[in-house]
């Protein structure tokens, strides 16, 4: 019994310590990122150990957005991300519906293909695509990047949506069919409105992939500064000596913030959607 009491006591002390350590290890770097982005570079050089800035400035943000061109980079990233999300959903909704509901030739093999694409190393794929787009003269175009992102996300989003579509009761769809809906209008009027949380989740996944991706953006766009995405822009400017670190830190905040907001906003929406479904039984 004494061993039990000892272990319990130890855990009662250890658990808060572990939680605090995890919290600090994850929250502190991002807090530091934000506080570093709102101070002058002189302050950092003179007093590198300080966490809280003495004087706040937003000049870093003005500098990074206008002079360093992050506004353009953000526009490019937004175009790429929004287009990827839209086309990914457009392609994967019918695909997922087919896999969930319809019996067709090769339906079982499709899963294997999806798993293979999901686990497939991007670095292997990068070689032929780099060569192909160079030959076609498409390097530097955002469209080529969007195409690659769609191909990488579609198999996963089909899988995610399929799991959800299978929970939509068949009887609702049959009722719609009796009321004269064609297959496509059944999907549009019945299945999709019932699947909003899943659509949010898949859209978010596609958005995150497109906004965060680095390797293909580097390979396709690096020579053409006006097409850089935010990720690529930050990585390219990070090496230069002329741009102060605090300005680049403002750039990292600009890069990170949209993803964090989108993630946490939709995470709540997701849980709400799920509980709303549970109430109806």
């Amino acid at each position: 019994m004494s061993r039990d009491r000892f272990e319990r006591g130890l855990l009662r002390v250890l658990r808060p310590v572990v939680i605090l350590a995890l919290f600090l290890a994850t929250a502190f770097p991002f807090l530091y990122m934000v506080t570093l982005s709102v101070r002058d570079i002189q302050e950092l050089i003179l007093d590198p150990g300080s966490i809280w800035p003495e004087r706040f400035t937003l000049d870093t943000y003005v500098d990074v957005l206008t002079k360093q061109g992050f506004l353009t980079f953000m526009r490019n990233s937004a175009i790429v991300a929004v287009a990827s999300v839209a086309v990914t959903l457009l392609i994967s909704i019918p695909g997922a519906y087919a896999v969930a509901r319809l019996r067709f030739f090769g339906r079982r093999q499709v899963h294997f293909l999806f798993l293979a694409v999901y686990l497939f190393p991007a670095i292997v794929l990068a070689i032929p695509l780099f060569v192909l787009f160079t030959m076609l003269g498409l390097r530097g175009s955002l469209a080529s990047l969007i195409l690659v992102y769609i191909a990488q996300t579609v198999p996963v989003t089909v899988y995610m949506l399929r799991n959800y579509f299978e929970t939509v009761p068949r009887s609702v769809e049959e009722a719609a069919a009796i009321d004269g809906c064609t297959r496509l209008s059944t999907i549009w009027r019945v299945v999709l409105p019932l699947s909003k949380p899943a659509l949010m989740a898949t859209g978010l996944y596609a958005f995150m992939i497109a906004w965060n991706e680095f390797l293909f953006a580097l390979l396709f766009l690096v020579e053409k500064r006006e097409s850089w995405t935010v990720s690529l822009g930050l990585s390219q400017l990070a090496g230069s000596i002329e741009i102060p670190t605090t300005v680049l830190m403002a750039g990292s905040v600009v890069l990170t913030l949209p993803i964090v907001i989108v993630f946490f906003a939709s995470e709540r929406l997701l849980t709400e959607g799920l509980t709303a479904g549970a109430e109806k039984g």
């Binding site: 991002f30 590198p48 392609i91 019918p94 695509l129 060569v131 965060n212 680049l248 990170t256």
Partner: protein
């Protein structure tokens, strides 16, 4: 509708299914499957961007690329780096994820905040977090180095001494980054599994007088093995071919060169497509071999568990 055994309806369904899935199949075929086949062909040809149009299906096939790549001095050391980086990164991220999931299993005030904070490293863009680490670890103005008695060049120093032992500083830093960035992934998986576990077993063990560590060892862990095994496979596959993290942190310098960074360098600065493709294929083959070994080993272990 679907209960009618009419053959034509079934055929209609099949046709509708194929036409609905065809955009998905076409895009994966065109952008993933065909390029992969082409990459395999390129690996067996002398391909550079200048002469790429002369290579083709009926081009001149050779094993030269493989011989060249494997005999290059940096190749084997980068393969060892890749393996060390992958095994350590995978292991650490799973262990920390497990600890985090156990710590956050029961409710406490502020759990939502801590949980959100834990997820950020995984959600945030890799370029931003890599730059953040670079800044924090900078020997001149990095905040971490102001806490140390002597500044350490974490990302640019290949070897250093720690308590009298030679340690690969940059490689360890990259591994730490990997663990920090991906433990939330393991945390999410394990926490979901933990919260789905039936409470009765744990309660029965408490009644039987099992201490917390005994309950962890004999009640909780056996129910988590599957999740941990799956995580190990996923993280191993993803980390083994990972390019972004190492490239952004060290650029492959200071003894951290992994195979994927070499592939990138062959492709861009050396403009040797054939060798890059050959190297990527060798990497993929090693990945499959290691996975096979692991799965064999694990399948044996699972039989013992039963």
């Amino acid at each position: 509708m679907s209960r009618t055994p009419a053959r034509t309806l079934r055929q209609q369904e099949g046709r509708a299914g194929l036409s609905l899935i065809s955009p998905t199949l076409v895009i994966t075929l065109v952008v993933v499957v065909l390029p992969l086949l082409w990459a395999i062909m390129l690996a067996f040809q002398d391909a550079r961007l200048i002469n790429i149009r002369r290579t083709g299906i009926f081009g001149h096939y050779t094993l030269e690329n493989f011989g060249y790549v494997v005999s290059e001095p940096g190749f084997w050391s980068s393969l060892v780096n890749t393996l060390v980086y992958t095994v350590a990164g995978t292991g650490l991220s799973i262990v920390i994820g497990l600890v985090a999931a156990l710590a956050l299993r029961d409710r406490f005030r502020g759990r939502t905040l801590v949980r959100a904070s834990i997820l950020i490293p995984y959600v945030a863009p890799v370029v931003a977090v890599a730059f953040l680490w670079e800044t924090m670890l900078n020997p001149q103005y990095g905040i971490v180095n102001t806490w140390l008695r002597e500044p350490i060049a974490f990302l640019t120093q290949a070897k250093g001494e720690f308590l009298g032992v030679q340690v690969p500083v940059a490689l360890l830093t990259v591994i730490a980054f990997e663990a920090w960035r991906y433990f939330p992934f393991a945390f999410l998986f394990i926490l979901a599994r933990l919260q789905a576990l039936p409470g009765e077993l744990d309660e029965a063990a408490v009644v039987d007088g099992a201490t917390p560590t005994q309950r962890f060892r004999y009640v909780i862990m056996p129910q988590l093995w599957r999740t941990v095994a799956l995580l190990a496979v996923l993280r191993f596959v993803f980390t083994f071919t990972k390019f972004d993290d190492v490239y952004l942190l060290t650029g492959g310098g200071a003894g951290t060169e992994v195979v994927s960074v070499r592939v990138y360098n062959f492709l861009t600065s050396r403009d040797d497509i054939g060798a890059a493709a050959a190297q990527a294929l060798v990497l993929a083959v090693f990945l499959v071999v290691f996975l096979a070994i692991y799965l064999r080993f694990f399948a044996g272990g699972e039989r013992e568990q039963r």
